[in-house]
Symmetry: C2
Subunit: 413 residues, 2 copies
Amino acid sequence: MHKSAAAPNGSVGSVGSVGTVETRFLDLPEPIALESGRELAGVRVAYETYGRLSAARDNVILVCHALSGDAHAAGVAASAPSAGTRDGFAAEDRDGGAGAGLGWWDGMIGPGKAFDTERYFIISTNLLGGCRGTTGPSSTNPETGHPYGPDFPVITVADMVRTQRAFLDRLGISRLAAVAGGSLGGMQALEWAILFPDQVDAVVAIASTHALHPQGVAWNAIARQAIMGDPAWQDGRYYGTGQAPDAGMGVARMVGHVTYLSGAALEAKFARRLQDGDDIRHTLREPEFAVESYLSHQAASFVKRFDANTYLYLSRALTYFDLARQHGGGSLEPALEDVKARTLLIAFSSDWLYPPVASAEIAEALGALGKPVDYHLIEAPYGHDSFLLEEARQIPIIRRFLEDGAERTTRTP
Amino acid sequence: MHKSAAAPNGSVGSVGSVGTVETRFLDLPEPIALESGRELAGVRVAYETYGRLSAARDNVILVCHALSGDAHAAGVAASAPSAGTRDGFAAEDRDGGAGAGLGWWDGMIGPGKAFDTERYFIISTNLLGGCRGTTGPSSTNPETGHPYGPDFPVITVADMVRTQRAFLDRLGISRLAAVAGGSLGGMQALEWAILFPDQVDAVVAIASTHALHPQGVAWNAIARQAIMGDPAWQDGRYYGTGQAPDAGMGVARMVGHVTYLSGAALEAKFARRLQDGDDIRHTLREPEFAVESYLSHQAASFVKRFDANTYLYLSRALTYFDLARQHGGGSLEPALEDVKARTLLIAFSSDWLYPPVASAEIAEALGALGKPVDYHLIEAPYGHDSFLLEEARQIPIIRRFLEDGAERTTRTP
């Protein structure tokens, strides 16, 4: 079970690819005790692994995905997906081309890449509440035999992390050389370092935060309202009705997309270019500007691959996430007091959804506590999506950070 | 007809108020020739006036409202409205208090205010396509006897301005001492100076632009999609069905609100304060953060007073607005070549929907053409809504600008 399903340097994929990968599944034997006080039994976890587990089981890196990702982080999917899970400009660039079916972080995971499969055993799971294999609101509720829908418990990032902990227990992995992720994935990484300080050597949190700012909370509330206000949502019980809240989900996705990109990126890519011809056509319904067509296209392709209830639950979890409130009585520094991991924070100058200031605040709090922390602000124009688009500039930073840790471990055996 | 309906310094209202005002209506005798090539017959215009028309009819200022405004710009409405038309924080501050029924620009229009009714005769109309008295998609189509709905022609800012021109002809007013507005209202003011250069002495364009940037186009596309994707929209034929796209309109309004405010303003007003108690309640449906409650409240009150089709048509018009495309073959400078008015531009540092750079570009183009232009950048934290909230700092700028013009007119009789 611990061996990688990937064929190293397989015939499919680019140089440095982990090759063809199949998503696997593991059923947790025990219920997960949730922060809400509820329990969730019969949890299944979808996962992929890349690289080889060392004999000492000390080379494990857990990779955590963001809102719309899944377990397929690297390589080429053995079962061709209906649509890629890479977001935004990245999706557009790759889905149609040779990269169809590539994992969402393929540029970062593989031989010689940031998370080097020659050295590390990388594990990627679909998170709790997801819709790509791990138990979520679209899964069958064992108590009723029907999909959970709105009966699925409201979960938190900490619940996601405890699920990952239980999952790793089943793999016989007690300790992580690193836990890494961007955005909501970075939240999970930070939560790991607080909940399980003795089991995490290093945290890599990219384009993330200790708590979403109120404007981010607002965007998420709007996205959820768009879904829940769609009559096809049917109070969350739309499974099997032949109807789904695609209209609302489309709007939610459009809101998401605009917040993931910077104004400057939209200006550079679309400006005010008309979609069709040189002049306006005086139409309400048809996309008139190129940026309108782009958003429509993104919305249409997203609703095909993503479950609306999962969107609701994950959106709620990421707005709840607040390390200071959860662990520090309202202050960040005490929340981080027990962290033992080395921390790498990367933020992007144009990211206004997860702005650099949040990473700087984490760095400052860890620094004040005398804990090892490395904060990199990358000047990049693409907004929040930079974390998927600016891979080349992150790779050396992450490699160096992980190597430093390896040396340190070697020096202090 | 030309006399003000306002009782100067009437018993109702604060010091400097224009008093109680009644909205009046005027039917245009001729059809409006629209930019789309269509004609619109039987157009009615709702309007209010404040102050007294001079014998020479040379003291007229036309005030143009933004997306959600109406003709009631100043004083206290004679017929109490169901909800104020002031937006955002301003609405919240005033609607519940002594200011209920106040016009949306009451702080700016009145004796001794920016637009001084002791000196000027101020005219405010509801714009073409509106839902507060002027002909729009909710009006009865004389050809069918039913509301226009989606049969209403797609209109532009230039169409709004030509309607205002036809309306002023009926009042016997050929020339404007100034035309003023914020946001979409500023677009109308700029369009006036280009379409009727010999009839406009001065333009006051506040928090406006010569063309919305692509991110602004995107927000508007999302808002329209939220409305049109609501099944209750019924292809725009919802009048008389007992259903209206309130859910979609609510989402559109929430998107609008967040774009009208700055992230810093939301942080200052709401931070991550919970709505109810000290801890999260693990709920998907209930507003949990104060900012979520605020947006829900704004959405609920907006759908009661505003027509969804009007929102669609005005949103489309303001995304179409592009002086360079319309009048300059793609360049701004030639578009402004015929302008004869003096121009005052005011922008706000934190306005990311109508960012200062757009006003600066207009100022630069006018300056390069040797035309008189005054550009003020006001440091203010409230985003686009600053144009309604930062009245005190605009008043002396506008008064000085208008006085300069009056002196100039006096010097060259």
